[in-house]
Amino acid sequence: MSTGHAPDIDRLIQLLGKLPGLGPRSARRAVLHLIKKRDPLLVPLAEALATVRDRVRTCSVCGNADTVDPCSLCADPRRATGTLCVVEDVADLWALDRSDLFTGRYHVLGGTLSALDGIGPDDLSIAPLVDRVRREAIEEVILALNATVDGQTTAHYVTERLASTGVRVTALAHGLPVGGELDYLDDGTLAAALQARKSL
């Protein structure tokens, strides 16, 4: 079957098609676009890819992905607010940081506890978190974990592990679904929501 181009281009299409959100069709369109915009797009893209390839690393302090270590967030002195935000993965860190709502530093756990998937406390960056809280002048740890069973189990576990440091631990509020109307909730959910109330 003829594809109308050489294997080099085929390979590029195949690789791009593996990116999240891109299928073979959109990958073909992207490659055509890159070829048409060789100088303004393809060349700088290739250079940017090479740079990131050579320099990308995981921040040894917080677990963020960056081209410098410590990462730019950890290196920024204005971020030493005494508040640490704990997230499951780098995607969550970037999402929170994009929102500009949080101005402190982060700590990436690298997943959640899951007995079913064989992920235990030693597979997560929990011990380094406890060390960090002791070493840096941390006053509050915000657990920004997902409202899944695994996320909440991990939040509970991390809270216990941090107890000895005396740091204040808070969590994002969960319970009432966004847009949830109180009178629509059943008694059980309401009871759980009431029980899980947070001081504001």
Binding site: P121, V149, Q152, T153, H156, D186, D187, A191, A192
Partner: protein, 516 residues
């Protein structure tokens, strides 16, 4: 006006009924309204579900007596409940059109109906004709695995492409709504490839072991998807409402409430507790929207704890991790138990407030660790603490036995034949059947009252097992309920009382013909 077309699977040739045949290929394209003429399936106005805030049963109307292993509850005829039952709910949604493709024995089926809850739909025909398949198709318009508890790929027509779809237009008091569900042919094929011949065996094992509670944050066990092994991707039942992709079958619950009675439920009182729990939890989910989610979360935490105990043993498991999981189990377990208790109290009040009919009243009780504590008046927080303590104490035992010895996964719905003061499981087959009909009618009344609109009722082969007087009583109760009824039977004569009101269809070898 009734127009029916159907196409038998094995021949692929359409036998035409009272109207012209529509051609159709299997696939999700058929689910939504977008694939058909605007005259039939045009865009419908999006209407909010009617869910009336019904009055809450007064605490004093339910009498509770603790018994061993659980809690006995005797619903007393509370005046609040009695007056409530006379308060009529809106008529329920009625089906205007039902379309199937590659569903069980139907390559295609296209049924046009009079969308009037006062006009029941009666399907008659010989055994194996395809009657139950139609009811099962409708049952997929609700969370769960349908009335046969099928695996996702099971309804796909043998000899078809691998996918299946069900689409229905319903007309409710607040306007029409189009619901569609099914699995993609491509997705089903991918799963079949990933599983391979050996995987197919695993799949059957899954189906036995799974629960109805659902995955984390999900709403219905395997309903939410089945792992396809190799790449871990999940086959999902796709759902559409008014042509828009919905997150999952849970979304149907806002538009439609389905209550059914099938011969498979005959063993409800004699089967293992899990069968009654499933019946109960489905009912609870219909009156308490967060229930399935809480149950799924509880079951996830429970499975995690058992895995931890099994893999690391009681002494090897990280105690902090166990405490965290037991904390989740307590939190969600209390929510599950509270919702169940509330629903059983309401159901008991509904039974009690109902009229004396040919169907004996049931006395209901709920046995369960947390349910008992809550029924005895414990605060949710105290019940959670007590349950956590029990779990902690049971770690060694649970590690040894490989199962969780206490908790909502062991609860049971206890049913007594009230007039005889006899446990239902000891009653005669006929008495059990009558009790069951009464219980399902109460479920229908309760959901109607709590949701403000009557449910759609599916009755498979029910009339055949009732004598003339009971049959008349059943039809009478259903008429008063105000929900559309879909009933099947082998003998048209059983439904003579419905002549003039029902829409009759004759089903034969996967064809459906309008009949008088």
């Amino acid at each position: 006006m009734t127009r029916v077309t159907s196409q038998r699977g094995d021949t692929g040739s359409g036998q035409t009924g009272a109207g012209q045949a529509r051609s159709g290929q299997a696939g999700l394209g058929q689910i939504g309204p977008d694939q058909s003429g605007p005259d039939q399936f045009g865009p419908a106005p999006t209407a909010k579900p009617a869910r009336a805030a019904a009055p809450v049963a007064a605490a004093g109307t339910t009498e509770m007596t603790a018994t061993t292993g659980g809690t006995e509850m005797t619903g007393t005829a509370g005046t609040a409940a009695a007056s409530r039952s006379s308060m009529a709910a809106l008529p329920g949604p009625a089906v205007a059109r039902l379309r199937l493709s590659d569903f069980r024995c139907y390559a295609t089926l296209d049924l046009d109906l009079v969308a009037d809850p006062a006009r029941p739909v009666v399907l008659t025909g010989p055994n194996g004709a395809g009657k139950t398949n139609v009811l099962e198709a409708l049952s997929f318009l609700s969370p769960g695995r349908g009335l046969r508890r099928a695996r996702l790929v099971e309804p796909a027509r043998h000899g078809g492409a691998g996918g299946w779809s069900v689409a229905a237009r319903l007309v409710a008091a607040d306007g029409p709504v189009d619901l569609g569900t099914g699995i993609d042919t491509a997705a089903a094929a991918a799963q079949a490839r990933a599983k391979g011949p050996a995987g197919a065996l695993d799949a059957d094992a899954d189906a036995d072991a799974d629960t109805d509670g659902g995955g984390d944050g999900g709403d219905g066990g395997a309903d939410e998807g089945e792992r396809s092994g190799a790449d871990g991707s999940r086959l999902r039942r796709r759902c559409r409402i008014d042509g828009t992709e919905a997150s999952g079958p849970a979304a149907f619950d806002e538009r439609l409430c389905l209550v059914w009675l099938t011969p498979a439920m005959d063993g409800l009182f004699t089967d293992a507790a899990g069968v009654r729990r499933r019946f109960l939890d489905r009912l609870v989910g219909q009156v308490a929207p967060g229930h399935a989610r809480a149950l799924g979360a509880y079951e996830t935490a429970q499975r995690e704890r058992q895995t931890l105990l099994a893999e690391r043993g009681y002494l090897g498991a990280d105690p902090g991790w166990l405490r965290a999981l037991e904390g989740r189990m307590a939190e969600h377990g209390v929510a599950v138990a509270a919702a169940r208790l509330d629903a059983v109290r309401r159901l008991a009040a509904t039974v009690e407030a109902g009229p004396e009919t040919a169907f004996p009243k049931a006395r209901l009780a709920l046995a369960g660790t947390i349910e008992a504590a809550l029924a005895a008046g414990a605060e949710p927080a105290a019940a959670a603490d007590a349950f956590r303590a029990r779990l902690k104490a049971a770690r060694a035992e649970d590690a040894r036995t490989g199962r969780t010895g206490c908790g909502p996964q062991r609860s049971d719905l206890l049913v007594d034949h009230a007039p005889k003061a006899m446990p239902a499981r000891l009653c005669s087959t006929g008495e059990q059947k009558a009790l069951l009909v009464g219980l399902v009618l109460a479920q229908a009344r309760l959901t109607a009252e709590r949701r403000g609109q009557a449910p759609l009722v599916l009755l498979d082969e029910i009339a055949a097992h009732l004598d003339g007087a009971r049959r008349a009583a059943l039809f009478d109760a259903l008429r008063r309920l105000g929900g559309q009824v879909w009933a099947t039977g082998t003998d048209r004569a059983l439904f003579a009382a419905l002549d003039g009101t029902a829409q009759f269809f004759e089903v034969a070898e996967g064809h459906i013909l309008a009949a008088g």
